[in-house]
């Protein structure tokens, strides 16, 4: 049975919410570990931006689903196979270059996705996208500068960030591998076209990598499955930490 527009939209919004929540959680893990006070604050701002975006997506998902689930239910009371985030955003923090590279690769995709969504036929989603876009454009500016600084920096910074790029590249394909959800959102809601996003993404990523004297890796085998709920081994630990409070004290509030 073909997927309805409503089903696809709900699934799509949850994917957006899960990307935001999981990357936000990864960045939150870095709180108090920043290399400099100023960079610490920048990172904390990014993490909070993502948590704020996740709330908007989940609140809307709850409304679309109509089954009484609220933001907390989506964020804290699902198990790992129910999360639809990209494998890229759940990758462990590693060193500073890894953190910057993960965010650089993801946000180059995310800004294009958001930009396209501001023109989609679903007004509520378009409004969320417009708001998130201003935040993520700034993030991307910040992390792109870091990619150039590290790539075109010292011998060691170049070597290490080049390794980050090589290691994370296999997780970049998933964002553009369209399935039925993407097709329905594109065809019935004027949503993003993954193929078009990929073309622009490659160009934008390549431009910055070139400035950073880094070589864009060859496209080899690409990992996938995150959006279908098949996550990497790191994911369970992330969830355990993130959900600990709600699982131990169900319904706890501030």
């Amino acid at each position: 049975m073909a997927m309805t527009r409503e089903q696809a939209l709900l699934e799509y919004v949850l994917r957006l919410g899960d990307n935001a929540l999981i990357l936000g959680q990864r960045l939150t893990e870095l709180i108090a570990h920043g290399p400099e006070l100023e960079e610490e604050l920048a990172n904390a701002n990014f993490a909070l931006d993502y948590l704020g975006q996740a709330r908007m997506y989940y609140a809307y998902a709850g409304q679309l689903e109509g089954a009484g689930r609220d933001e907390d239910a989506f964020a804290f009371l699902r198990s790992d196979h129910e999360y639809r985030n990209l494998l890229l955003v759940e990758q462990p923090n590693g060193h500073f270059g890894d953190v910057m590279m993960r965010q650089f690769l993801f946000e180059n995709y995310y800004v294009l996705q958001l930009d396209a969504l501001t023109r989609c036929d679903d007004e509520h989603l378009a409004a969320i996208a417009a708001r998130a876009l201003t935040e993520v454009r700034y993030h991307l500016r910040h992390v792109s500068q870091w990619i150039v600084r590290l790539g075109d920096g010292t011998e060691e910074s170049h070597r290490r960030v080049a390794e980050s790029l090589e290691r994370l590249w296999r997780y970049t394909g998933e964002a553009f591998a369209s399935d039925e959800v993407d097709d329905v959102v594109r065809d019935t809601l004027q949503g993003p076209d993954p193929e078009e996003l990929l073309r622009t993404w490659r160009k934008n990523v390549k431009d910055v990598l070139q400035e950073a004297t880094l070589t864009m890796p060859e496209d080899g085998w690409m990992a996938g499955g995150g959006r279908q709920g098949h996550h990497t081994e790191h994911f369970g630990y992330l969830l355990a930490e993130m959900q600990h409070l709600q699982r131990t004290h169900p319904g706890a509030e501030w």
């Binding site: 400099e36 100023e38 960079e39 604050l41 920048a42 700034y138 500068q145 600084r149």
Partner: protein
């Protein structure tokens, strides 16, 4: 990576259009663009500004405290330089 290696920048923020930039504080940064980003993240998190200037602290030419007597004291007894004989109209807050 330590703060010692990154130069200090002074941050000036214009809180809204029509006002002038005011010194807000300082940040450490490796280059000019990073200084701007850091100033934005540290000093405008609660919508405190619409424009930011950053300048390397070492590029600021400052008056010497040892010379403050000849620098500033001569102005102290020249009351006629103060426009104290005018009343400021209501509604002018930022003169």
């Amino acid at each position: 990576m330590t703060g010692d290696n990154w130069p200090l920048y002074e941050v000036f923020i214009r809180s809204r259009a029509g006002l002038s930039h005011r010194h807000a504080g300082s940040v450490h940064a490796a280059d000019d663009q990073m200084a701007l980003d850091h100033a934005r993240d540290v000093f405008t998190r609660r919508s405190e500004g619409v424009s930011i200037w950053v300048v390397k602290s070492t590029d600021i030419v400052a008056s010497d405290p040892a010379e403050s007597t000849e620098f500033f004291e001569p102005a102290a007894d020249k009351i006629y330089r103060h426009p104290t004989f005018y009343t400021i109209p209501d509604g002018v807050d930022n003169l």
